[in-house]
Amino acid sequence: MAFDIVECPTMTSSNGDGFVGLVLVSHSAAIASGLAELVAQVAGPDVPIMTAGGGPGGTLGTDGGRVLAALRTVDGPGAVVLADLGSSLLSVRAALAELDPTEAERIVLVDAPLVEGAIAAGVAASTGASLADVAGAAEEARGVPKL
């Protein structure tokens, strides 16, 4: 499977291998970029965040090339990937299969609610937590009641 590599917006620049990063994948570019903005506000400016939102040509959907580019270019020693629904996850899985082993070992796809998981992961990353701990923080978000 071949993907086109496209430019992805990044919300932050990072200090190289400082903080673990986040990749946010959504059917909507607005959801992905709005969430990146929210995470940056809560977690601070030092956590690298890449978004892959929407389908080709600005449609609602997923764009495998954009997901792959985000996985390859996100800063930090590793990155946690959060996706919204159904085919976003399929796009992430397909993109992960395109990575070589050294690229793949720094990426963890987590099973977590998108908004809560991204906030929890972003704040954990901002404390200097390891890739495994940031992924754990995202997945713990499944069990935190809102009310």
Binding site: G44, A120, V123, S126, T127, V144, K146, L147
Partner: protein, 89 residues
Amino acid sequence: MSRSSELTRVRLPATVALHARPAGAFVRAAASFAATIEVQANGRRANAKSILEILALGADGGTELAISASGDDAAEAVADLVSLVAGLS
């Protein structure tokens, strides 16, 4: 060496809610201590190191927080967080 701290009360500044950026700063500060730290507000309890639990407190400006901790650095943790809350802007 302090294994557990007294519960210490501190009021959020009137204009600062424990949401968004202040909540993130609070959790980052809490995470720098080994102690287990609990915050109570509005009749709810939160683990001070959990951003989602802290946000769920719904602590608006002026809300009184009760902070307690247990662990070797409990006293330092509570003192640091009380000072952080009082100084939020």
